[in-house]
Amino acid sequence: MWLQGLLCGGMVTLATPTSLLIGVLLGPALLAIVFDRESGRARARCIALCSMAAAVAPLRVLWTSGHSMALAMALAGDLRIVATAWVAAAGGWLLAELMPIGVRTVLDAVSLARAAKLRSERVRLIEAWSAGESGGSEPPNGR
């Protein structure tokens, strides 16, 4: 933790414009890193990656245009750039929330299809091999 603080402190001291722009553009990602206490911090990771993708272009402009504090302030104050970065962060959060649900839906659908196929096979076997007319015993409630 202290190493991270030292690096951040060093970066703020040595590259203040970059730090300012990153601080503004990756602000939601930093908040997510602080508040995400789940193991692996999957949400924070996704938000950070998306935010970083949106921050690449403004940082390139900053670094290729003299890396001045004024430019950094101008870029940080550009609503389009900030909105893009923060929308990307929101998109990352949304992606992290929806993707497990989507995968769960797919897995359930696959299981249901398999269970239906197995039940059908079971009924066929019971009908072919049972002495009575009831179709045999009830199958387990697989889904």
Binding site: C50, A53, M99, V103
Partner: protein
Amino acid sequence: MAETAGRPDSELIAGQYAVEEGRRLLPVAGLPAFGVIDGQGGRTDLMAIQLSRQVPARPRAFQALTTPIEGLLTPVAYGPVGDACYAICVAPPGPAVQARARAWPEAELLDCVLRPAARVLEQLQARACTHRGIRPDNVFQSGPGEPVVLGTAWTAPPAMAQPALFEPPYSAMCLPVGRGDGSIADDVYSLGVLLLCLALGHVPLGQLDDAAISRRKLEVGTYAALTGDARLPPIIGDLVRGMLAEDPEHRPTPTLLLDPGTARSRRVAARPPRRAQRSIALAGGEAWDSRSLALAMASAPDQALNALRSGAVEQWLRRGLGDAQLAARVEELVRHRAQDGLPEDGNAEARLVMRTITLLDPLAPLCWRGTVLWPDGIGPMLAVAQDSDPEQMVRIEEVLVHEEVSNWAALRSDRCDFAVLRVEARQQHSWLQQRGQGSGVVRLCYLLNPLMPCASPLLRDRWVTRLAELLPALEAAAGRVDRRVISPVDAHVSAFISARLERRMDKEISDQLGAADADSAASLSQLRILAQLQSRLHLGPLRELAAWLAAQTGSVLATWRNRVRRAAIEAQLRVLTEAGYLAPMLLLLEDPASRGADAHEALQAGQEVARIDAELVHIAGGAEERATTASRVGQEIAAGTGLAALAISLALAALG
């Protein structure tokens, strides 16, 4: 021939005789008699006697009398017509001798009664047969001076219709159906009583009932009891005295009777029973000799047991009768009973009474709990008692189960063939012990009565005494029954089959019947039995019976697990049923190769179902696992997407 030409074969007996049911004759021994038309020989001297279902005819007599005997109304043929069975016999040539009210002269008695009857008895003896029906209403004469003719005695158990007067006391004290075939000496006795009655011109002791007649005969001897103060012609008197001896061994043989002079001179010194100085009271009467006491004990076994336990019998024998040896033997029997340690064993007590009676009178028949019988009368007794007298059945079963005939014979081995009786008793016991459908007392009843028809309710309108008649009768019955509910092989049919089969198939059938516990096994076993019968007896197609058996095979078909195979077998069975042969049906249902394949495939199918069930259970219980996986994979995908976006941005930035 013309008179029977219009009748179908099923209405003819031996393919020749037609019963005229509209022409009733006088009953014979209580059985209805009818006129007969002989379609081939044209004989007019025949009559038909309708046999009773409950009272079996005498098989030994029918076998022994295949060739006629002069002076005897022999059976000519017998067989079923519809639901009745008739014995075709020679009709009486004239009225019965009882029609003559006056006393017969001695010469006529010797020439017309004694010699002709003795000749008949001699031939019967040569054929190992007895008559057991000599009485005034069953001996006929075509005219005065003509030799008498003995009537029929084959359509009912031996001596069943004989009044006590005409039977030896040891036969008269038995139940009428339990008198057994007896010996020719019993016929000699009956002939003696007949001669006496004809000589006297009346029947003596008419005022006494049967029990009193037997008691009186034993007390004073038959000759003295019947003649009383009457005087008989000298030759007849001497002959009858010998013929009426209580001991069968003391009676003259039929051969000897052919020469009355010799027979008259043969005097056997039979000692009269020793008379006691004082009587012993038992069963409401008084006994003065051991024979009378045995008779009283036989008729009142409970009182006899009390008298034995109290020592009254032993004391009377010792002090009253003065027979210390007999008293000691009775005392020994009582002591053994007291020492056997089973105070409430009713059978042991009945055995004690039975043995005591046998000791007191070795000539007495087997007396068991008030039931008196000769061992060769057990068969007819079973036949008569099985549906009408359960109490009597219990007693007979006790006699069979405990092999009492053997115990009885052991005490009088000098008067019977002990070895033969013991073997028979063991054989009957083993038959009785066999379990399963068609075993036990019902089977024993059919075994001991070869002419008894099958008493199955299915065959109520048929008279079936032979195996060859059984399957056609079942074929006819198939149209009247609910084929799914009623089995063609019920307890009576299976017992009948077991009893009538020759020995080489006996064990096989018994095993099959004994194993018939499950529905499918029972259905298959009855099909197996009837199929074997059809094959062995070379019977033609039996389509109705085949359809009946096919309707019973539902449980057998259900043992095939594969529905398609089952349907195919059912279809094949329908085709075979229409053919009417049972063996191919059995082959189809028993086919071991097909059954093996079915069982193997059923096992595999069962395993497959178990695997599916396990997988379904796994799917049903996998929701949490799927949620974990979805969360992990979803987050990985989200991270991957973010990383890809970052990579694209970096690439775009690098490219300018």
